[in-house]
């Protein structure tokens, strides 16, 4: 699955509670980014991420894809490690 500039892929067949746990882990990667590195986060995807968050759809497949893209931009290694942990 292509995901913008993101090299990580969304794990398949995740249960709803797994998706929620994945969202929590990925959003913590994004929120842990130091203010001085904020420029690493791409402007348009982060806006889409906030829209999915506001609309309660961050755990949807589309929301997760955008979140993964933002998380990978913030910390690619950590994001890949988290995603790997959710693959069966």
């Amino acid at each position: 699955m292509s995901n913008g500039g993101c090299i990580v892929e969304l794990p398949e067949n995740l249960a709803p509670e797994e998706k929620k746990a994945l969202v929590d882990k990925l959003i913590d990667v994004v929120l842990a980014l130091k203010p001085k590195k904020a420029h690493k986060v791409p402007a348009e995807p982060v806006k889409r991420m906030l829209e999915y968050w506001r609309d309660g759809l961050l755990h949807s497949d589309e929301g997760l894809k955008v979140l993964m893209e933002v998380a990978a931009a913030a910390n690619e290694e950590k994001t890949a490690e988290i995603i790997e942990g959710f693959k069966r």
Partner: protein, 329 residues
Amino acid sequence: MFGIEFIPQEPYWKIVYYSVQAEKQGFSSIWITDHFMNRNPYVTMATIAVYTSKINVGVGVTNPYLANPVVTAQAIGSLDEIAPGRIMLGIGAGDKTTLGMLGVKAGKPLTAVKECVEICRGLLSGEKVSYRGKIFDIKSAKFAFKTSGKIKIYVGAQGPKMLRLAARIGDGVLINASHPRDVEDALKHVDEGLREAGRTRDDIDIAIYTSFSIAEDEKEAIKATLPVVAFIVAGAPDFLLEKHDIPLDQAKTLRKLLDKAAWGEAFSKVTPDMIEAFSIAGNPEQCLEKVERLFKLGVNQFVVGSPIGSNIRKSIDLIASRVIPAFSR
């Protein structure tokens, strides 16, 4: 009611994320701090206003020195168009240290705040303002746009005179304190100001602006609060330190360490007494007990201020699930 403070030293998208979370979790207000080195508070408020739909959003607090009150009112009035009835204006004396960096002399704070409130209130009510004060001289100003007319003006206060002024002229007062003894003392001055103006506590929103840190693990919450408490103690006047039995030499040591950016050493000098005096920090049960004590004093709004916690997202969840429900019953 619970408010929450965010400092725009963080990128806008983090603050918007937390703001949406706070709205979903039942907070009533968001306060954005104003310091020139951080992102502009009004731009930050605009993004929050766009992404939220119910929660109130205010600048907490700006000062009368850096921008002419007309410009401040213009920003607030413009924001009201994005979020009608949800925008709040907080005005205080400003931080002398940061204003001093810009060569701004923050003189006559009581007069400056009073005049700023009066000018802003007039403009935001749609009036044509001609104001000849001791500090501001507005020949003639009127906005070419209308506001909702529901913009509350809060006065940020800590000292007795500013607290009395806030009670006399504010729609709300933002009291900078975390300890019940300080809040109790502040409320005496607020009551005095209300009496002077023929008002009662029903006429004003009494909000306390606290330094707050919550985590499941008490130690984690306390660790997060150390930097904030270190700076509060370093900047506290002697009378306030003495009131809380904090030795002046300890505060002096902290000031010296912070001045030379010896952060780790400075934070290690923060004592439990300092934490108790100037913050609310602990696990949810400990925080709840302290918040209850403050509400019992007659406070209407409790503002969760910096640092909130080591993981702000989790801390907001904790406040929403373990603190706020005790007050919505």
